[in-house]
Amino acid sequence: MTRVKVLLAIASVAMAVGLWFALTAPADTLQGDFTRIINIHAPSMWLAFLAFGLTALGSAMWLIRKQSRWDRLAQASAELGVMFTAIGLFTGMVWGQAVWGRAWDWGDARLATTAVMFFVYLGYLALRGATLDPTVRAQRSAILGVIAVVQVPLVYFSVNLFRTLHQTQSIRLDGITMPREMSIAILVNVVAFTILYAALMLARIDLAKAEERVAAESALAGDAVKPPRLSEVKDV
């Protein structure tokens, strides 16, 4: 069993435990069962921040060292960050519709900055897809990866800087402003999601390595292994 499969198996168990905590924690008096959605929303956004932070780290290290492993780290982490941001936005909208009475509000600083961050990192992935040469691709995306990370603290502190619709942080270093059972469920899910993130990161980096090997082999083989086009074959 490979390292990736072992970590994915551990992540599956952790996610199942997290799901159990999310579904058995007491429901909120006012929000009812909708409060359970926060068990996906908060860990997803935490991982988006972590993922984009690691994208910036990989990008900066690539710019300094020019080693492809740092580019692979940045790419894998950005992809996962976009996925977790999408889940965070979706779950937040469902919760918002039920509790706030509206799924989206462009006037809210947290929602608007998160949407901008999501689209910037989608742009990061599009930039990677649009550049064929691996070195040029790594260089361009590394510059964007380093610049784009300024959005992470902006999104995180937007609720403190602009008091609009979204509430401030409930779990802080100086204390927790929610019932113990609910905060335990969220923290268990944060751990579970982080293990899943680590497993998917390893899987994505492993895939990038394998695809680079295939590309290198086909470049070495050149035209020798390219099958002839049907139009070039005369005796059909």
Partner: protein, 34 residues
């Protein structure tokens, strides 16, 4: 639609996206070979 159905649906879609991404990586890795 009942509240619980919306909550369950949200969980199914969110976990489905994560499972789908893991499956997508697995299939692409298998295509890339060893």
């Amino acid at each position: 639609m009942s509240d619980q159905l919306i909550v369950v649906g949200t969980f199914v879609i969110s976990y489905g996206v994560m499972f789908g991404y893991a499956t997508y990586l697995h299939l692409r890795r298998r295509r890339a070979g060893n």
